[in-house]
């Protein structure tokens, strides 16, 4: 088999990214949408780390920041989800069409 190059990693990352986008666009369940966003972030991370293999450590540093970001996003996102569930008893995105309740 051909040796693994950076390009291989990029292809995996792209696949994950596309899967994440499809998930965000098509799923109704907020939890799954949030998880799809995590998928996208991970795809980005894989890209960053793969590039850092070529150009040095900065990519890894940035991916750590992305993970931090993901943690913050998950916390706030799930907090909103709980608040929303409490008020509307649903977790479907297409029923969240009011900016207030």
């Amino acid at each position: 088999m051909a040796p693994i190059t950076t390009l291989h990693y990029l292809v995996v990352a792209a696949a994950l990214f596309v899967l994440g986008v499809v998930g965000v666009l098509t799923r109704r369940n907020v939890v799954v949408v949030l998880m799809s966003i995590e998928l996208i972030l991970n795809a980005v991370n894989l890209n960053l780390v793969a590039f850092s293999r070529i150009w040095g450590l900065q990519g890894q540093i940035f991916s750590i920041f992305v993970i931090t970001d993901a943690a913050a996003e998950a916390a706030v996102g799930l907090g909103i989800l709980i608040a929303f569930f409490r008020n509307k008893e649903t977790v479907n995105v297409d029923e969240v069409d009011l900016l207030k309740w």
């Binding site: 709980i82 569930f85 409490r86 008893e89």
Partner: protein, 384 residues
């Protein structure tokens, strides 16, 4: 006057607004098969996460119709049945029943019988409290005290066995006195036991009283005020831990209790820790009573003069004693025949259990276990 009446042990379902997440209350069946309900008690818990919103006790799994059986047995024949109610304190049950019938027939047990009764009943109180301590500690997670208490309770059961041949459901007393004379060496053996058990009680206290986790788990858990206790009819150590200095042994002495000098330990706050301390002190007081009694058992007959066939006159009687769990009462209606017309048992566990709901509302699941343990219920008595 009381708030206690507001706490009806009924579970209102479907009030989602009380929970943290709305509409997400959890209904849990604790029991009838559960390691910590001391038998076949079933408690339906309504939970908000870990917080208890309400409880409902479902009892009766062990119902045997003792009161109905009593109406079809003669007075003497019914005597062994009472042992099967509170089977960890069978001697106390027997004492209460025998004294009630004696009172109804207006006879007195001879002093020697009364002394033997006191000694055995207090030994039984010790055994009951030991069993309570072991299982209560086990419920809270301390597994070791259980084995210590069982080791020492064994000695008491040995004395019972030597006295009347049975260990648990003793049937030790008869109407009118005691069936058996004390066996040879009874007094020395009891004295030996007293010497043996006093340091053991210290040992239990050493394990638990100052244990930080134990104190944390029991302090301010299941608090019940004296007022609520009285309104809910809660008696025994639970009532005393709330600060009411009331013990039937002192208030309305029966058997030979008026002869002895002992104190009624009381608590202040009425929380689980106070109840623990009160029971521990009670065990020491029991030792004191036995110590006084065993030295001066009077000579004389052990049976009063009673007719061959027990036929109490027409009338009603209510007699109660201080069982280890609280006020154990017998209400007997006699129609002059050899069988009770109606016999009602006032079981302390049954009435005390009613306070469970009030004590655990707003507490956590773990507290329910602690409170069930601290109420010291025996399902044989609750369900009868």
């Amino acid at each position: 006057m009381t708030d206690a009446t507001k706490y009806l042990s009924r579970l209102e379902l479907g009030q989602p607004d009380q929970t943290f997440l709305d509409s997400n209350e959890l209904i849990i069946n604790m029991g009838p098969q559960h390691p910590a309900t001391h038998g076949v008690l079933r408690v339906i818990l309504k939970l908000d996460g870990e917080k208890v919103l309400g409880t409902e006790c479902v009892i009766g799994y062990l119902h045997r119709g003792v009161e109905k059986i009593a109406e079809h047995r003669t007075y003497a024949m019914f005597n062994p049945y009472v042992d099967r109610m509170d089977y960890v304190a069978a001697v106390s049950n027997g004492l209460g029943y025998c004294e009630a019938v004696e009172k109804l027939m207006n006879i007195q047990a001879p002093p020697r019988a009364n002394y033997i009764r006191v000694i055995l009943t207090e030994l039984n109180r010790l055994a009951s409290h030991m069993l309570w301590l072991g299982t209560h500690a086990l419920d809270i997670g301390a597994i070791t005290p259980l084995f210590y208490t069982f080791r020492d309770r064994e000695e008491i059961l040995k004395i019972f066995e030597k006295y009347c041949g049975a260990r648990l459901t003793t049937h030790a007393f008869r109407i009118g006195g005691c069936q058996y004379e004390t066996y040879e060496g009874f007094e020395t053996e009891v004295k030996k036991f007293l010497k043996f058990v006093a340091p053991k009680i210290d040992e239990y206290e050493e394990l638990l009283t100052t244990n930080r986790i134990w104190v944390k788990r029991t302090r301010d858990v299941g608090v019940i005020s004296a007022k609520d206790c009285i309104a809910l009819g809660v008696t025994g150590p639970v009532l005393r831990a709330s600060g009411v200095k009331w013990d039937i042994r002192k208030a309305q002495p029966y058997a030979a209790y008026s002869d002895f000098d002992f104190e009624i330990p009381i608590g202040e706050k009425g929380d689980t820790y106070d109840r623990y301390i009160v029971r521990m002190k009670e065990m020491r007081q029991s030792l004191r009573i036995i110590e006084q009694a065993v030295g001066k058992i009077p000579e004389g007959p052990i049976m009063a003069k009673i007719p061959k066939v027990i036929k109490p006159p027409v009338g009603e009687i209510y007699h109660s004693i201080e069982a280890p769990k609280g006020e154990l009462g017998y209400f007997i209606v006699s129609d002059g025949s050899t069988q009770p017309y109606r016999l009602r048992v006032r079981p302390p566990s049954f009435v005390n259990l009613q306070a469970l709901d009030m004590m655990v509302r707003g507490a956590l699941v773990a507290d329910v276990i602690a409170v069930i343990g601290t109420l010291d219920i025996v399902l044989g008595e609750v369900d009868r």
